[in-house]
């Protein structure tokens, strides 16, 4: 069964560094999403992406964040200058339509 994959599974970075989190959505899916989950807290929506552009974004998704679909398979989340509070689990999701979203296993980001 096709799955959303994410790399790396874990990333440790220094405050102020740029990180790129990578996702490979399910191949025939059209909508892509990033979410984050700070330890012990809710899963929070960051951004959705459709037809090569951002469809929706939350208040969390400020100028430090950007998303890109650089080719036909990858979907990336870039954090330009990481802060301590960016430490979280980041999930990618995809869907063929606008209902059930299929989530990847997540990337655990630790900012020191």
């Amino acid at each position: 069964e096709p799955e959303v994959t994410q790399t790396p599974s874990h990333q440790v970075t220094q405050m102020g560094q740029e990180v790129i989190l990578r996702c490979v959505p399910i191949s025939n899916h059209l909508y892509f999403y990033w979410y984050r989950q700070i330890l012990g807290q809710k899963v929070e929506f960051l951004v959705s992406f459709y037809n090569n552009e951002i469809s929706e974004k939350s208040e969390i998704f400020d100028d430090q964040f950007s998303v890109e679909r650089p080719d036909g398979s990858n979907f990336t989340l870039k954090i330009r200058s990481t802060k301590l509070e960016d430490s979280a689990m980041y999930f990618c999701a995809s869907t063929p339509g606008q209902e059930t979203q299929y989530f990847g296993p997540g990337t655990r980001l630790l900012v020191l």
């Binding site: 892509f32 809710k42 929506f45 469809s55 929706e56 606008q98 059930t100 979203q101 997540g106």
Partner: protein, 114 residues
């Protein structure tokens, strides 16, 4: 947002018993989804119920939706140790603009005692 708040926050039951979790939400929805998350892992989609449906079954799962009360429940029958996980309800942030992000509740942490 307080969309999709589950209760109880934690539930511990014996294997074989049924587990019921509830979710409340505040705004109008076109569907409500339940997800499971094993500790430190990704989210697994369990079931989606549309706003015009009142009940839906999938294996040992039964979901109800009461749009007049803005609430949903997830029932897991004949629980197993492998059901130990956190369970979240999620609703689309319906903006009408396209790819709706989901708003998740804080979840119910379910522990099945063997």
């Amino acid at each position: 947002s307080q969309q999709g708040e589950e209760d109880p926050q934690a539930l511990s039951i014996q294997e074989g018993e049924n587990a019921t979790m509830n979710c409340s939400y505040k705004t109008s929805i076109n569907n409500l989804q339940w997800y499971r998350q094993n500790s430190g892992r990704g989210l697994v989609h369990l079931i989606l119920i549309r706003s015009n449906e009142r009940e839906k079954h999938s294996g040992r799962l039964r979901v109800t939706l009461d749009t007049s009360k803005k609430s949903s429940s997830l029932l897991i029958t004949a629980s197993r140790a492998a059901d130990t996980a956190s369970y979240f309800c999620a609703t689309p942030e319906y903006s009408g603009g396209g790819a709706d992000g989901l708003t998740f509740g804080k979840g119910t942490h379910l522990i099945i005692q063997p």
